[in-house]
């Protein structure tokens, strides 16, 4: 059972930069890459630092705190010291409007 929330227009998002937002009190980030938008929980799985303070490099997001890296699309760990994946959320874009699904 999921809830779709309209969060913004795709033009509101700069390319390759993590943008933090809150949807229904869930802290998440949106990362736009071209005409795709990825959505992940705004917490590194290592020590829960905000990923929104990190940087995006290609298809990965790097946490500023200890250098952990995750795949933007799947949340999978790409680099230590993280050990478990970061939660990702489904994104739908309709007519430029970005929708995010939060269970």
């Amino acid at each position: 059972m999921s809830d779709w929330h309209r969060v913004c227009h795709i033009d509101d998002l700069p390319d390759s930069k993590p943008i933090p937002i809150e949807v229904d009190d869930y802290e998440i980030i949106l990362v736009r890459q071209g005409d795709k938008v990825f959505c992940l929980r705004d917490r590194c799985s290592h020590e829960e630092f905000p990923l929104s303070l990190g940087t995006v490099d290609g298809g990965r997001i790097c946490c500023k705190a200890h250098g952990a890296e995750f795949d933007l699309a799947t949340g999978k760990v790409l680099k230590a010291p993280a050990l478990v994946p970061v939660k990702t959320y489904e994104v739908r874009i309709e007519g430029g409007e970005v929708f995010v699904s939060i269970e």
Binding site: H5, R6, C8, D12, L13, I19, E22, V23, D25, E48
Partner: protein, 439 residues
Amino acid sequence: MSVAAVQELSPVEQKLRALAPDPNLPEWFSAMRLQARDAYFSSAYPDRSSEAWHYGEAKRFKLDGLDIAHAQPGFNGKQYERICGLTGLPRRVSCLSMLGPRVTELSQNDALLKAGVTVMALRQALALRSEQLRPYWLSGLVCPDCDPIIAGHYALVDNGFFVHVPKGVQAPEPVHLIMESGEPGSVVAPHVLVVLEEQAAADVYVHFIGGSDAERSLQLGLVETHLGDGARLSLTKIQHLGLRTDAFTREAVRIGQDGRYSSISVHFGGYRVRHELDAELTAQGGEADLYAMHFLRGRQCYDFHTHQNHQAPDTRSNLLFKGAVTDRARASYQGLITVAPHAQKTDAYQANRTLLLSPEARSDSSPQLEIQANDVRCTHGSTTTNVGPAELFYLESRGLPRETARRLIVSGFMAQVADHIPLPNVRDYAYNYVMERLE
């Protein structure tokens, strides 16, 4: 939902900006309010890198998007009834209720009056007993401008309760105080000041009710107690706020020589709840027993932060915080025991016990010690478990269905704290709530 955050002052913040001394309140009180107001606007909210907010979220207690609560006559009549049910026949106890500037006296108790016990609205006390309150208000037990949340409280506070028990008096009846949280989109800042003179004794209950189940409201509360030498206080707080009400409570107590403070906190409601408990054992022989029981569900987040501060020799403290977490809730506990170098023969104990009852439940616990005296006994413990499979099996093998067995174990877990509540009605209420939720 807009992506860019807009930094604008909320209605209550605008009122704070415009705050001027109130001619109906003592000058020293207004002076502190203005100081706190300035501190609120100039301090930065702590983030996760601050040790004290390692698990909490300070920005949840900001005044964004809120206005001061409006008193609504007849508001929460059902809750009043329930509480009167708890307290016994209304005529037998002293019961005051407050929402914002309006205080309703539900009942007054002659025995308390005769004994010289004062139970009155803070505003009234400030008007009539200004000089009596002043040394306590300005005692520094709580620093009014050291952090923005407390500063927010002191800037907003304009009412609450004052309870005073004179020297040598044992309050013959319990005192019940009801604090209501306001409508959605509102903030209340209630302040309870309890003063027990030397050798006084009392049994006080504070009920936190109101707020909303659907939209955010905020309560910034402060409960401070000053215990004279040999005084004994039992203070039970029951928080049953609406499920979208964020609540911050700082509970502080200064315990005099051979004084005894017994605190029981029961938390069932609220959304993001932070309870800070600061027990200062500043004189020899002081004792503090600090209990808490909480039951979390939905997406509630309870963040407890306690400090057993031993600054004098021969002091004793004992803390037991127990919680059961269901659904996707999260219970966090950070507790510190400090023992000053001269606080020899301190006996301090701290235990945090959590039951995780669902796959998405989460618990954080950090019991901490900073000990600088060596002739002491300091112990702490923390456990987090599910309902023990061995205990379940034992009960099931005696013919109890699994769910009943589970309920029995959880209620037994909670009973260890609930049993310390002096009034049977209140004790049963706490206990029954847990049982109902487990069904």
